[in-house]
Amino acid sequence: MDYNTLLQILDSTLRLATPLLLACLAGLFSERSGIFDIGLEGKMLAAAMASGAVAFLTGSVWVGLLAGIGASLAFAAIHGLASITFRGNQLISGVALNFLASGLTVLIAQSLFKQGGRTPPLTGDARFNPVTLPFADALQGVPIIGPFYHEVISGHSLLVYVALAMVPLSWWVLNRTRFGLRLRAVGENPAAVDTAGVSVVGLRFAAVAITGLLCGLAGAYMATALQAGFGKDMTAGRGYIALAALIFAKWRPVAALWACLLFGFFQALALRPDVVQAVVQVKVPVPFLDALPYVLTVIVLAGFIGKAIPPRAGGEPYVKER
């Protein structure tokens, strides 16, 4: 495989890893606060539809972005209501919301545009267009790094860089701020937070809201940057891959970055079976590449690559008890 092909694959790796990364960090905040969320998929989908539709109607991608975040937040709110306020089963709530999203998005898109649940293609300012980083062209000449910087690093939509920036930010918030301390505490032992006079419900809703926000970004990226419009079930299981990445990363922001890049890389490879074949010298069935992230996650879950210990209070609704 020549260097250009590699660059090209890394390039699409970054593109494809971005929604995973945003969703993964989203899940990270929720689960660190003790709320399991398998509804990432649904939130992304809702956001994708909302942003796609609104961006088309208003012609402004920014308004679309807000709409996407709004939709995702709405779903997050329901999840919070069910799993925090009414202490329902968080997993079931997640499953339900995924169904809801996959159905509602098509219904709404269809009733708005009558195009079989699609939103019309977005053009111009209704989309996030590639931004070229400074010196990208100037440095292109420089061997190795030049093309790398130009092809892989530069020339992505703004949201890609936002996603990357979210990683250190998340780490800092979790480990260096009061909010972070309380968030981690509420995920480990809510009673400790409660008796310390801090509202468990408040903290968890805050966490779920952040999840909504980040999923909103992820969904908007799908519809307005990676693609030019929303299409039925366009997230295609990315929410679950993000979940897998989260476990793979053992609920840590920086590790999440690597996990998502890895899974993004698999997706990029799945697009180029020809390359894979050229490299490994045997025909690798595409389904195998598709399944790889899931297989790896299972291996991690099995504790063969270190044990993945979720937050102690994860999944259980908080009931006051002594």
């Binding site: 981690r184 937070v193 006079g197």
Partner: protein, 515 residues
């Protein structure tokens, strides 16, 4: 009452119901500033509920709270903390994988960023630990600390928030006598500083030693508040239960037969591969009660678990000469029961019962393979099971005697009676009993103690594990003291006292002289 006549706390007409349960009924209590005030009462009498209301953890259905003489509504813990109230709960509220420092500042941070708060807290902790013998390593992880130290962290949390009213809910249940003494020294120190302390406990001895006044609760009502100096343990016990109770069990001298259980060099590792039982050897004869004294967490639980088939172990154990497998096939609870071992577990809620199951389903718990409960090769005989349950509830006076009632709807004591009935009615060769009277009120204690003695007199062997020294002293024919996974020594209850046992429980003295 108090020197300066004003009260630190006054509760007026506090009531609280949990659905059908009236946990607190029109409670009135006044605590003078700068005193240690004891509260005693049966399990479920409403002590913790009352304190939780004072701490804003529960909202009272009715009643008023006065702090320092002025009406102070306490809707949540936040306002309780602001009112200068700190609470150390029965079960600690610490984040296991946080450091002491992080736990202390949690919720009391100075700014949105941590580093400043941490720096300040570090200094405060140093001075506090100097003033009150509250020394703990600020950077240690909670999960690495002993219970005693964890409790100190809880107290530090309260003091860090400038609490001048400190509530402790059954603080000594998990402490060695030494640790307990240390705690009471700390409390006295705090009292000197003018802080007010409320102490909930079941141990009359502690009340008599540490408190200035004591309030007694029964079934959700406040029955009396008296000066400690002017009362006696007997009187308090009577107030608690509402009738005379014998604090001592009377039993005939034991007539030990031949050896039933022989344990040699028993070793157990927990799931973290830590050795919890470090080579224990002893034997129990028919018609004998061997009491295991010791502070919770020194290997007694593992001993019961290993013998009961709940944990795999190494060493040699024989029951009536038969070898008992300690790991692999035949080392599970079922095989143990078949071998003739019955087991009243330490924690009925976690082990002894399925709270969502009905009483009759619980009576089959562990014995679902018993022939008398089978209709045929395929199906169980649920009808026979119900009848059998009704009989046992009759005999053990379980209230209410309804086989189809869910276990969770029985009271603590009655839940325990169901477990005891189930295990004793198997008429085993060896009975393992852990904390038989934990979470059980004095009335039920009497009954259960008599049952255990009766079983002994019927020529059975009994292994009794309890953290209550009084219980060990009064029931056992021989006492073994455990510390750090080893047996420190054997004693004859008539030829030892709580001091000696306490020292041995703390790991001091103790030579293996069998009694």
């Amino acid at each position: 009452m108090a020197a300066d006549g004003t009260y630190a706390i006054e509760l007026k007409g506090i009531s609280k119901a949990f659905g059908p349960v009236q946990a607190n009924k029109d409670i009135n209590i006044a605590v003078p500033r700068g005193t240690i005030h004891g509260i005693i009462g049966e399990n479920g009498a409403g002590k913790s509920t009352l304190m939780s209301i004072l701490y804003g953890f529960y909202k009272a259905d009715a009643g008023q709270i006065f702090i320092g003489g002025k009406l102070t509504p306490i809707p949540d813990s936040q306002s309780a903390i602001r009112a200068g109230i700190g609470m150390v709960f029965q079960h600690f509220k610490l984040v296991q994988n946080f450091t002491v420092l992080e736990n202390v500042i949690l919720g009391a941070e100075d700014g949105p960023l941590l580093n400043t708060s941490l720096a300040k807290a570090r200094q405060v902790l140093e001075s506090l630990s100097r003033d009150y013998e509250l020394d703990v390593d600020p950077d240690a992880l909670i999960e690495d600390l002993s219970v005693g130290h964890q409790q100190r962290v809880e107290i530090l949390k309260a003091l860090y928030r400038q609490a001048d009213i400190l509530i402790l809910d059954e603080p000594t249940g998990v402490l060695t006598p030494a640790e307990a003494d240390h705690l009471f020294r700390i409390l006295k120190g705090l009292k000197e500083q003018g802080k007010t302390i409320i102490l909930i406990t079941h141990k009359l001895r502690e009340i008599m030693e540490a408190t200035d006044n004591v309030s007694v609760m029964r079934r959700g009502t406040m029955v009396a508040t008296v000066k400690t100096a002017e009362t006696s343990p007997e009187q308090l016990a009577e107030l608690m239960v509402g009738r005379k109770v014998l604090l001592e069990v009377e039993k005939k001298p034991a007539r030990p037969g031949d050896v039933v259980l022989r344990v040699e060099d028993l070793r157990v590792r927990d799931e973290h591969k830590v050795e919890r039982l470090k080579g224990v050897s002893f034997e129990i004869r028919a018609g004998e009660i061997l009491g295991i004294a010791g502070v919770a967490g020194n290997g007694q639980s593992e001993l019961l678990a290993a013998l009961g088939g709940m944990m795999r172990a190494t060493g040699k154990v024989t029951l009536k000469g038969q070898d008992l497998p300690l790991s692999g096939r035949g080392s599970d609870g079922q095989s143990r029961r078949r071998a003739g071992i019955a087991h009243v577990p330490e924690d009925r809620h976690h082990y002894g019962l399925i709270l969502d199951f009905t009483a009759w389903e619980n009576v089959a718990f562990g014995y679902f393979n018993a022939p008398e409960y089978q209709k045929n090769a395929l199906f169980m005989d649920n009808k026979a099971l119900r009848q059998d349950t009704a009989r046992k509830m009759q005999k053990y006076d379980v209230r209410p005697p309804l086989p189809d009632l869910a276990a969770k709807n029985f009271s603590g004591g009655n839940q325990q009676k169901i477990v005891v009935a189930r295990e004793m009615e198997q008429n085993p060769d060896l009975l393992l009993v852990g904390q038989p009277t934990r979470g059980v009120d004095i009335g039920a204690i009497e009954f259960i103690h008599n049952q255990i003695v009766a079983l002994r007199d019927a020529g059975k062997a009994v292994l009794l594990v309890s953290v209550e020294l009084d219980e060990i002293m009064s029931l056992s024919d021989r006492i073994a003291v455990m510390f750090d996974g080893r047996i420190m020594g054997f004693r004859d209850p008539d030829r030892t006292d709580e001091r000696e046992l306490g020292l041995m429980m703390a790991g001091m003295a103790g030579h293996g002289e069998a009694a």
